[in-house]
């Protein structure tokens, strides 16, 4: 899967706590991305098998609001996301040059 910067931001939010399921507005607030960006990314991540989605297991009447859909990284998604983000980090932060620095006399 091609890793774009917005996708990397979404994955970073998921990886900040892999046990926590996230809902759309939460992901928006944490990543700083708009709703029009978040949902296509979530769909792509699901298609790739990195993320699963599940409706809240609760009664809407008891909650006093409609049930929401939560998203969670799959074990494979955690591994893949960590690897991809590490690769991205490597590309965007190249190792410091080993050339000698000439200091002024």
């Amino acid at each position: 899967m091609r890793l774009t910067i917005p996708t990397a931001r979404v994955l970073s939010v998921f990886l900040s706590d892999v046990e926590t399921a996230r809902y759309g507005v939460d992901l928006m607030e944490q990543s700083g991305l708009g709703s029009g960006t978040i949902y296509p990314i979530l769909q792509k991540l699901q298609a790739a098998g990195w993320v699963t989605a599940a409706w809240e297991d609760a009664d809407a009447a008891e909650l006093g609001r409609p049930i929401r859909r939560y998203y969670l990284l799959t074990p494979d998604g955690v591994e893949q996301a960590r690897q991809k983000l590490a690769e991205l980090h490597q590309v965007t932060n190249p190792a410091p040059s080993s050339a000698k620095v000439v200091k002024p006399a």
């Binding site: 507005v25 709703s35 929401r68 859909r69």
Partner: protein, 288 residues
């Protein structure tokens, strides 16, 4: 009021996603949550932003070959299918001098399969996937092709247009919506069957005015048009078989005045294209 506006945005945005993806329900839940949090600005911004959300696998419309191919095959595909079949039939007729009736029927069946395959193939690559634009685009294309053939001297339905044009549009819209939920081949069979019924009604509309009129004096004696035979008029025009029901005069007039094979081929192409394009959108990843 602001929540109603947000809901309108959500409704508009959710139409671009598969009907059973649950996106509308999910987004409305978020709108309700933000409204309950007394964040009307964020709620509106959230809902407005969704109008830009395209399904993840949706192809991008732009200045590219795929968009050009979509425009070409939506607008000219039906006519191209008909023109190709006419060229082959004319070529065969020139070679064989008289086309055996069985050859005609086999040729029509073969071209119907080819028309369906062509529509299916191009529908797969269509950048348009919404039921309404698909139905409108293909419906207008088929209608324009039939009008062109009529204006250039082809034999065609005239009164029947009032029946089959809206019928085709509604059928295309219906099958596109069904394709978002059901198996495509089943929907294709339903769509073609429905379109054939619509064409049958169009033939009734076309020729019913002649019911009760006696055959002209130059014609051999016999019955004229009979209302009870009306459902068979289209069947005869398509298959050249009246199954012993129609009078000789009915058969003569219908075979001279109406030629349904072109519209059937174009309808099959349009149906296959619409179903594949709309169904492709539905087969994209669906959230649980």
């Amino acid at each position: 009021m602001r929540q109603a506006v947000a809901r309108l945005f959500v409704d508009a945005a959710s139409r671009r996603w598969p009907a059973d993806s649950g996106m509308r329900q999910e987004w409305l839940a978020e709108v309700d949550y933000l409204a309950a949090q007394h964040k009307p600005g964020r709620m509106l911004w959230f809902a407005f932003g969704l109008t830009f959300a395209r399904p993840g696998s949706a192809p991008v419309v732009g200045f590219n070959w795929r968009t050009a191919g979509t425009a070409l095959f939506m607008l000219l595909g039906p006519f191209a299918v008909f023109a190709a079949s006419a060229l082959v039939f004319n070529g065969l007729a020139n070679v064989l001098e008289i086309l055996d009736y069985g050859v005609q029927q086999a040729g029509l069946a073969a071209f119907a399969v080819l028309a369906g395959a062509a529509g299916w193939w191009w529908g797969r690559w269509s950048v348009v996937s919404g039921p309404f634009p698909l139905a409108l685009g293909l419906g207008v294309s088929v209608t324009a092709s039939m009008l062109f053939m009529w204006l250039t001297g082809g034999r065609d339905l005239v009164a029947g247009y009032a029946v089959w044009v809206p019928g085709l549009l509604v059928t295309l819209l219906l099958v596109a919506r069904l394709a978002q939920r059901r198996r495509n081949v089943f929907v294709l069979a339903i769509g073609i069957a429905l379109f054939l019924v619509i064409l049958d009604v169009a033939y009734i509309a076309e020729f019913y005015h002649a019911v009760g009129d006696p055959p002209p004096s130059w014609h051999a004696a016999g019955d004229g048009f009979t209302g009870a035979h009306a459902p068979m008029w289209f069947v005869f025009a398509l298959t050249n078989q009246s199954f012993g029901v129609m009078s000789y005069y009915e058969s003569f007039v219908i075979s001279e005045d109406a030629f349904p094979h072109g519209i059937v081929l174009m309808g099959v192409f349009a149906m296959a294209y619409v179903i594949r394009a709309a169904g492709r959108n539905a087969t994209m990843a669906k959230p649980a």
